[in-house]
């Protein structure tokens, strides 16, 4: 509930429109309120007294009031809709930006589906609340208070009955709402669970098929489906009981009012001298009671909105309150170009509370140097490289670029100049060209082909029917593993980096293609500092220096030839991959 109120700060910008809209709504509601009074006048003073003129006059009055009320209602509705959509627009934008301000560490915490739901449906729930809930709450309050006042002016006795009944009705609603709220929250959770199973099943379709786990998957899904069914049925049952109940309360109240009012009218007729009410007054009362009950019904429905919106607001704040683990400091250094010197000074890093992935690592890399990194699985090669563009921050020590701590740079100057090809190459659905232009929208076709050539990707792109315009699917469906890797490399080259990091992205390439890619890059980008992580001697051997990592530390370093002489890990790897295999046949 509190978070919902806190969210209202997103309405600040629309205060003007909102207040104006509420005023208009107030006026329009007042205009609808005078309708019963006019009907009463027609009945009491027109029809009963047989006054034709009065009937016509007030009949016209009713129409006129309705026209005004409708017009004003239009205006008020428009302003409200505009404000609520404006707020949703701002809120979605804020959330999206927030997600993009997250570092990898934050992102590790959330699942894609969760983020999607928050930016999409949770914001929509809030918007619907502002649009409908607000409208309804204000309209109902005005109507309730207004009709109570009008009733009071016509008969204080009856009005006081209403004044007792209506608050008690409200209390009933509040009780109901508190009962329903947790069920709503639970339903959202169940829906999330259902979606997660679905999403994973589809994303891992080939695994499911390969392992013939269809039956298990169906079972897993059906458990979630059943769970959702049960909670949904529960809510449905509650609603089908409670909504008519609200209506019932309204109707019974009305009947009671008429009954009590009628009894007094009869008393007044039968026993002269007893103060009573007229039939017209009774009808008027009946109308007001109906008018007052209707908004109470509305309030009941609003409570639904409130519970849903409160749940959504909580989830939204979970995102908004998440602090990006990596931020720019004030007055961060901005540079168009980096020289490309990198230094690790006693750098240590770990994920959460696990073991050190990089431990006390020190090393200097000169601008334009070509570095190869090789080492056992899980040695911390990727983790080490992540520290350079600040995907993660060191826990101890520091990482320097051009002699300055990476923390002192603005994130954009770092990342603009560093191209990191991630181990899992992600492409977007779209054409090959769109995928490339993504990093450098101004690149000419010539430049595209140059980058593709360098990444040894030009050949297979040319074989595709539409060449650059060939459409590829989600995550690069329609390409072979090695083709995806080469496209990702081409994309990185196209961004004209000062530091280029290839994280094991030649693993699916045959040795010949791999050599061509690497030799080509070395030759065409002499000034660029290049770091190549690989498990293949073939990929690292031509580097100026090769680092052998193990357990987060640098175990050996040197050129290919130097490392072979040391007869350490590198030599061992070499043996398994080259000498032994070829048997120097």
């Amino acid at each position: 509930m509190l978070s919902l109120i806190k969210l209202f700060r997103f309405l600040n910008k629309y205060k003007g429109s909102l207040i104006f809209s509420i005023c208009l709504l107030f006026v329009s509601t007042l205009l609808t309120l005078v309708q019963p009074r006019m009907v009463q006048i027609v009945v009491d003073e027109g029809i009963k007294q047989k006054e034709m003129a009065t009937i016509l006059l007030w009949g016209g009055g009713i129409v006129l009031a309705a026209i005004f009320s409708s017009l004003i209602n239009f205006g008020s509705g428009y302003l409200l809709i505009k404000s609520s959509h404006g707020m949703a627009y701002d809120l979605r934008g804020t959330l999206f930006k927030k997600v993009f301000s997250f570092s990898f560490q934050n992102l590790d915490k959330f699942r894609t589906g969760e983020l999607m739901v928050r930016i999409n449906s949770d914001v929509n729930t809030i918007m619907m609340f502002v649009r409908m809930g607000f409208f309804m709450i204000i309209q109902s309050l005005v109507m309730i208070i207004g009709s109570l006042l009008l009733m009071y002016s016509s008969d204080p006795g009856l009005a006081s009955i209403m004044a007792v009944i209506m608050p008690s009705v409200l209390v009933v609603f509040l009780v109901i709402a508190t009962l329903v709220r947790p069920v709503f929250l639970k339903m959202r959770k169940k829906l999330d669970e259902l979606n997660n199973v679905l999403q994973e099943n589809l994303a891992g379709a080939s695994l499911v098929k390969a392992f013939v786990q269809k039956k298990q998957e169906i079972k897993k899904f059906n458990v979630k489906n059943k769970g959702f069914y049960e909670i949904s049925l529960k809510i449905g049952t509650l609603m089908s009981l409670l909504f008519p109940l609200l209506f019932l309360i309204g109707q019974v109240t009305m009947a009671l009012v008429v009954m009590i009012g009628g009894q007094r009218a009869i008393n007044a007729l039968l026993v002269p001298g007893v103060p009573g009410i007229t039939v017209g007054q009774l009808l008027e009362f009946n109308n007001y009671a109906m008018m007052a009950m209707f908004p109470i019904l509305m309030l009941g429905m609003v409570l639904n909105f409130v519970s849903m919106a409160a749940a959504s607001a909580e989830r939204i704040f979970e995102l908004l309150n998440e602090q990006p683990a990596i931020t720019e400091k004030a007055g961060a250094v901005r540079k168009e170009k980096l020289n490309g010197d990198i230094a690790f000074v006693n750098a240590s890093f770990r994920y959460g509370h696990g073991e050190m992935a990089v431990s006390d690592f020190s090393m200097e890399i000169k601008s334009g140097e070509k570095i190869g990194i090789i080492g056992p699985t899980g040695a911390g090669k990727s983790s080490l490289a992540y520290l350079i563009p600040r995907f993660y921050d060191v826990n101890y020590g520091s990482v320097l670029i051009d002699g300055e701590n990476v923390r002192d740079y603005s994130l954009s100057s770092l990342r603009r100049s560093i191209a990191y090809v991630l181990q899992e190459s992600t492409l977007f659905a779209g054409t090959i060209k769109e995928n490339l232009l993504f990093v450098n929208p101004d690149a000419s076709d010539n430049e595209l082909w140059e980058a593709l050539n360098l990444a040894q990707a030009a050949d297979f792109v040319k074989e595709k029917e539409n060449q650059l315009e060939e459409v590829i699917g989600e995550k690069g469906v329609g390409l072979s593993g090695g083709q995806r890797q080469r496209l990702a490399i081409a994309r990185a080259i196209l961004s004209n980096p000062d530091i280029l990091i290839l994280d094991d992205v030649t693993s699916s390439l045959d040795l010949e293609t791999e050599s061509k890619v690497i030799d080509g890059i070395y030759e065409k980008l002499p000034d660029c500092t290049i770091i190549i992580i690989s498990q293949k001697i073939n990929a690292v051997r031509s580097a100026d220096r090769i680092i052998v990592m193990k357990d987060g530390k640098c175990q050996e370093k040197g050129t290919h030839q130097e490392l072979l002489k040391i007869k350490g890990i590198y030599k061992e790897i070499f043996n398994t991959q080259v000498a032994q295999d070829q048997g120097v046949a």
Partner: protein, 616 residues
Amino acid sequence: MSENRSNSRPIGQGMGRGPGHHASFEKAKDSKRAFKGLLSYIGQRKIIILIASFFLMGSVILKALTPAMIGDAIDLYIIKNPSLDQFTLQMSLVIVLLLISWGVEAIGGFLIIRLSNQIIFKLRENSFAHIQGLSMGYFNRTGIGDLISRMTNDMEMIYNAMSNGISSIVNGIFTMISILIAMFIRSWSLTLIVLAILPVLLFLTSLIGKLVKDAFQKNQKAVGALSGHIQESITGIKVIQSFNKEEKTIDDFNQKNNDVRRIGIRSQFLSHAFMPIMFLATALSLALLITFGGVLAIYFPAVFSIGLITSFIIYAQRFFEPIRQMTNIYNIFQSALAGAERVFEVLETKAEIKSSLESKNIKNFRGDVEFKDVHFWYEENKPVLENVGFFIEAGKNIAIVGPTGAGKTTIINLLTRFYDIQKGEISIDGVNIKDMDLDYLRNQMGIVLQEPFFFATTIMENLKYGRPAASDEEVFEAAKLAEAHNFIRRLPEGYNTQLSERGMNLSQGERQLLAIARVILKDPKILILDEATSSIDSLTEVHIQKALLSLMKNRTSFIIAHRLSTIKNAHKVVVVHDKHIIEEGTHQSLMNAKGFYYRLYSLQFQKSEITEDMSI
């Protein structure tokens, strides 16, 4: 209908364009089929709808009676001959009837809600089971986002229409009819006055209704485009951040977000317009009623009593409410029908690849695998494999090598029947795989895919995926063989470590080790490793190699790898290049032949280097 039917759009939909949110209103035939499909789901339960309608109708009639009774009470017992007892009795009766009508309505409403929930439950269950049977080609064409939106959003639309729609319509129609009847019985002339406004109202609402429908359609499209963009950007957020393209992504987002706002305001405003218009209509009809009714009451007081007019005032107010509700329902039904179309499109998609009807299982499975003159394309007229043939004896292993993009993974896709060949034959122990039971076929195989997938659950559960009944000890054993045990044990929670989405909190090599352990645990007859060790360091690989060698003993194995160390011990090597198998033999014979294979693997290292190294 074949799977190709839904292939009206190319793979993917362009950057950021949402997965399949094109509401397809245009095909009336499809709507009809979707509607019929829904009806078939209601099937046996039609009787429930009848019973529920009966209850709802009862409540409507009871509710319609009450204003008349109140009017009577005022007329008869206050105005004509005042009687406290009679009046009180009549009013108490009204309250009792209201109570009964609540009970009746609640029962009817509950029946409908339960029915809708049951139907959506069944529909979801069937759709999911059906999707499990569809082939990889279908998933790649349709896209995951699109399928998810069919299983969630579209289902929700159908649910809304059923749960609100049915009762609202029954309610609305019966309310209107019963009020109409009640009014007619009391006075046809006053009834006509109340109805006078109706033609104008219907005209106006149908006009706005059309606008609203258009606007909502546009709105759905805009919302779809936006959510597609969000989905894609979040999936690729690490790439976006690594290229510092947050700003561009956010700009694109803002543009789509703005579309949603603009179109959203329009559609909401249009549908909001119903409210004041209905209010206006009610007021007009009330004014007409009062004026004419007043005149009639003055000149024919015997026929048009004040009580009569009073009750008509109440009727008039009630009469228009269901009309307003039903205009709302119209929108809901439109969306539901569009949703049902998309759902039934999935349900009616025939599986391209399925078990043959008289599927033969092999009695004594040996594992001889033969490809005979196999031709295959993913997309028509773009052949990927031509004339591919080879034979591998049971228990032997075969290495498939070749440059990237040659079609190695494709060969595996064919053997597992992820895709079916267009020409030729693939057989195991002499039986065409198309004649085998699909599950049986795949159960014989253990595959490590080029890009391993994991579920966001514990490592233990992921390892047991192929054999849920395996004991923990067996899991440890498999993990040890795959050299995964050591790194798992070092994790803070060991085997109970929770993996994040797709196992991204492990290193790439660690993921591959897990995938190998998973297959070892499955203990398949045919083993398939598609670059299963590409990111694993050579030293670890040597160890796994040993495990794999003992694993491969006596089972047919397919190995795809670029590193020589992985393939040199294979019984047979086939070289795939340019759609064909161009060389075949053992490592030694191929090296000696000095052909393509030789070039692929020997030219990498100068002799000098190797000899120099050897001399050390």
